[in-house]
Amino acid sequence: MPLVADTPAQEQVDHALVTRVLLGNDPRAFEQLLRRHQGMVRAQLRRLTQGDEAAADDLAQETFVLAWRKLGQFRGEARFSTWLYRIAYSCFLQAYRRPAWSGRDTQEDTFEHHRAPDSSIDLQLDLARAMRKLSSAEQAVLLHGVQLGLSHEETAYVLGMPLGTVKTHATRGKAKLKTWLAAWQGTGNRE
């Protein structure tokens, strides 16, 4: 899966669209920003909500409404997409801390030993289970730092963590995954 990393040209387009919204109060410019970024923000939130698409889309709506309100605070210090990820993660955390969220089924399952691997689909399933066994901080760091393709610095910005903590969570998370998925070594995990 190719990562959707912003090129400098895409960043310039984002900045131009933000300027159009702020100077001209132009909703169509914001609509373009929304179309450009909704896919990745919703993917981020689906991961954070453990695949709960309805909850993720509700949070994504909340994210973009907040972005619309706070657009004047975007100063271009981070990429626009990174700024959106930060708002989305903040929305997720607020929802996650509500009592109603704790009662949700997060698809927790037992993950102790891995049987002999059968196929790449089994590997993906084991990986998904292994990811769920990581701490929430390790999951968040690997999601943003590896799957969304952010740098350590950007991940720290999005998650509001010190840079050293991000690096530690990344190292520990990968070490755990390596241990838990060791049985798959040499059985086609480079497919």
Binding site: M1, W68, Q124, L181
Partner: protein, 107 residues
């Protein structure tokens, strides 16, 4: 048996990521929910600043120290009143500059 290295783990994680979600009307739904943006009214602030300057000018213009300082300053004579007026104006300018720089942070 060797465990998978970091690159393998990274590759696996990226492979398992589904990528961007298709729009399917999401953008339209959000656009309908957007509230109207609030316009920042600049004229009340400008009117307040102008009124403050005018009030200051009127209240200070009759003060002997201010008059002496202003007259000396305009004539190029750096007397004590002129220096006091200059310091007061510089201080107020610095305060205004600090406020202008800090204001966007608080928005």
């Amino acid at each position: 048996m060797h465990s998978p290295d970091d690159n393998d783990i990274d590759a696996l994680l990226r492979q398992s990521f589904e990528g961007p979600v298709a729009d399917d009307g999401f953008t339209d739904r959000v656009m309908q929910r957007l509230p109207a943006r609030r316009h920042r009214l600049s004229w009340p602030m400008l009117a307040g600043v102008a009124a403050g300057i005018a009030t200051c000018w009127l209240s200070l213009s009759s003060a002997p120290l201010y008059r002496a300082g202003w007259t000396d300053w305009l004539s190029g004579h750096w007397s004590s009143p002129a220096i006091i007026v200059w310091l007061a104006l510089s201080g107020m300018s610095l305060l205004a500059l600090g406020w202008v720089l800090a204001e966007p942070e608080n928005r």
